[in-house]
């Protein structure tokens, strides 16, 4: 079985966005960058499948990103069990929209005849949650999104997907694009020796030209980034007597805020 895992390096969830006023640019210079947390579930799932199937299973991790993404590929992907890495280095795709990303990833994936394509349910920077389903359309294959359980059979898969108030079970044929949600597994941490060895695994760097592809055109553009609307200062309800405070709060919510 050939597995591809599509990953993205993103600012970590502790990142503070400093934006004094609305503007066309976001200062991304001070960000600490990590493997997108949902992609970690995709990497882990691929490695667990390989551990079950043994020989004949190969995992290729694919990303689009500048040279700094190499560290994420090595430490969080190759060092935990992925076999090889492909990185598309194309400055024009910095902050690309999901359809641009999906078109380039699809071009990479078409070279490999993968049975299973795993990725995170969304990246925690732009929160678009689009690349997975777009890949499935571009590759004309099955999809299952926000997956918390995955079972593979001979040429088929069964995935449990999180939906409102429960779960949906999706069954289909391989190849398939699966987007991974927290709960699917518990990602392992890389060991130091494996991080050292990760650098020896094959890594390929490509451009769009190498893929026989022009830079896909964007269909939309962020014109302005704005800080969240400011909130008025918190009104503290005197709490000397918790029961009285609770009554006062209930009254405020009904009569002032009008939310209950």
């Amino acid at each position: 079985m050939k597995i591809a895992v599509c990953v993205k390096q993103v600012p970590d969830s502790e990142t503070r966005i400093t934006l004094a006023a609305p503007g066309p640019e976001l200062d991304r210079s001070g960000f600490t960058r990590v493997l997108n947390p949902y992609d970690a579930y995709a990497v882990e799932e691929a490695v667990r499948i390989k551990e079950r199937l043994g020989a004949g299973c190969e995992i290729t991790v694919v990303t689009i990103g500048p040279i700094r993404a190499v560290e994420t590929l090595k430490k969080d992907c190759l060092a935990v069990g992925c076999d090889r890495a492909i990185r598309v280095d194309e400055p024009a795709l910095e902050n690309a929209e999901p359809l641009q990303t999906a078109k380039v990833l699809a071009a990479v994936l078409r070279r490999g005849a993968y049975d299973l394509i795993l990725t995170g349910k969304q990246a925690i920077d732009d929160d678009s949650a689009q690349v997975g389903p777009m890949l499935a359309e571009l590759l004309d294959c099955s999809q299952a999104t926000v997956v918390t359980k995955l079972e593979l059979g001979e040429g088929v898969f069964t995935a449990t997907c999180e939906i409102e108030g429960g779960a949906a079970v999706v069954r289909g044929s391989l190849p398939a694009v699966i987007t991974c949600q927290k709960g699917l597994n518990e990602p392992r941490l890389p060991s130091l020796p494996n991080i050292m060895k990760a650098g020896m695994k094959p890594q390929e760097t490509l451009t769009c030209a190498d893929l026989g592809l022009g830079i896909p055109a964007a269909r939309s553009r962020v014109t302005t980034y704005t800080p969240p609307p400011p909130r008025a200062a918190c009104r503290m309800v005197a709490a000397d007597d918790p029961a009285a405070a609770a009554r006062e709060l209930a009254r405020l919510l009904r009569d002032e805020a009008k939310v209950i």
């Binding site: 359809l99 389903p133 359309e137 999809q143 927290k182 939309s220 709060l249």
Partner: protein, 321 residues
């Protein structure tokens, strides 16, 4: 003059609330700019009759046995057929599990702009969509630069249509499926054992955090939530500790919510939690530590022991006259 199509997602024969919220917002927009709102219904057409009163000018329905069970490929083909023949400028899809599943696939098929989780909709010769990024730490204004766009809309971002709607003409369209067989489909839907209100759709949410001290005390959150007709949420800390399932988690690696009222109980207010709920219209914080960051995000606060305040609040709400 833009024509805006709205996909009307159904659940048990009734339209989802977000479908009518989008219809209403689209109507308010085209009332300023000109153009029409088209409701698009796949399968059971019972809700088509209501679309006009919810703000739609016209309703388009498609019937096919394939709509009996959901799959992304069938929905993609059917809506792509609609867009190709009727040529709306924008198609709105609710940011629900189903909507988020097929909308990007549809956009890829149409080679359209695709903007997820919108909370604002405007038009000045081109569409301007507003959406939170970085889980709400920042907002992006997105200009559509393509002939057609697919936009996901967050539930509860927009109010319903306030009257003035009349019955809209209903017209059938050909979804162009012709015996199409998808690669994958939903074969079973499992509903959670307890009948709970879904976080992303709830108007009121009560969430608990580490201040609850132990798993059994989450009962306090569930009781207050039940009294308030609210959904019960949780911080990442208590989900990671295994007290409650991940489906309850609010925050950057959980659910992003924007209810009318969010009550944070024993939650310190780590930045990844704030990211998931800061767009709530009214936020209440109950925490023993008056310096907890949650109070900076809150509208109302009580700095006291939650084990005293929460039962008292429950009683106070029950007895509000």
């Amino acid at each position: 003059m833009p024509n805006i199509a709205v996909y009307i997602e159904q659940s048990g024969g009734a339209a989802k609330k977000v479908a009518w919220q989008m219809t209403a917002e689209a109507r308010r927009l085209v009332d300023r700019t000109g153009g029409e709102v088209w409701a698009v219904v796949l399968g059971d057409a019972a809700c088509a009759a209501e679309a006009g009163r919810q703000g739609a000018h016209r309703v388009f329905t498609a019937a096919d046995d394939a709509f009996a069970r959901y799959d992304a490929e069938t929905w993609t083909r059917a809506l792509a057929a609609f867009v190709a023949t009727r040529r709306p400028d924008l198609l709105l899809v609710g940011a629900t599990a189903v909507g988020k599943d097929f909308a990007p696939r549809l956009a890829a098929r149409l080679d359209a702009a695709c903007v997820s989780d919108c909370i604002g909709l405007d038009y000045d010769g081109g569409f301007r969509l507003r959406r939170p990024i970085f889980a709400g730490k920042c907002y992006a204004e997105v200009a559509v630069e393509a002939p057609v766009a697919v936009a996901g809309v967050r539930p509860n971002a927009f109010p319903l249509f306030a009257g003035g709607g009349v019955d809209a003409p209903v017209e059938a369209f050909d979804p162009g499926l012709g015996g199409f067989a998808p690669h994958a489909a939903v074969v079973e839907t499992v509903t959670s054992a307890e009948k709970k209100i879904e976080l992303t759709e709830a108007e009121v949410i009560v969430s608990g955090g580490r201040g609850l001290k132990e798993a059994a005390n989450y009962q306090l959150i569930e009781t207050l939530a039940s009294t308030m007709g609210a959904a019960a949420g949780a911080s990442r800390a208590i989900v990671d500790a295994g007290w409650v399932p991940h489906s309850h988690q609010v925050g950057q690696t959980g659910k992003t919510v924007s209810p009318k009222l969010y009550v944070a109980v024993g939650i310190s207010g780590a930045i990844q939690h704030l990211a998931g709920m800061s767009s709530s219209k009214c936020i209440v914080a109950i925490n023993k530590d008056p310096n907890a960051p949650i109070f900076k995000a809150a509208d109302y606060g009580i700095a006291a022991d939650l084990f005293e305040v929460v039962p008292a609040l429950d009683a106070a709400i029950r007895t509000l006259d």
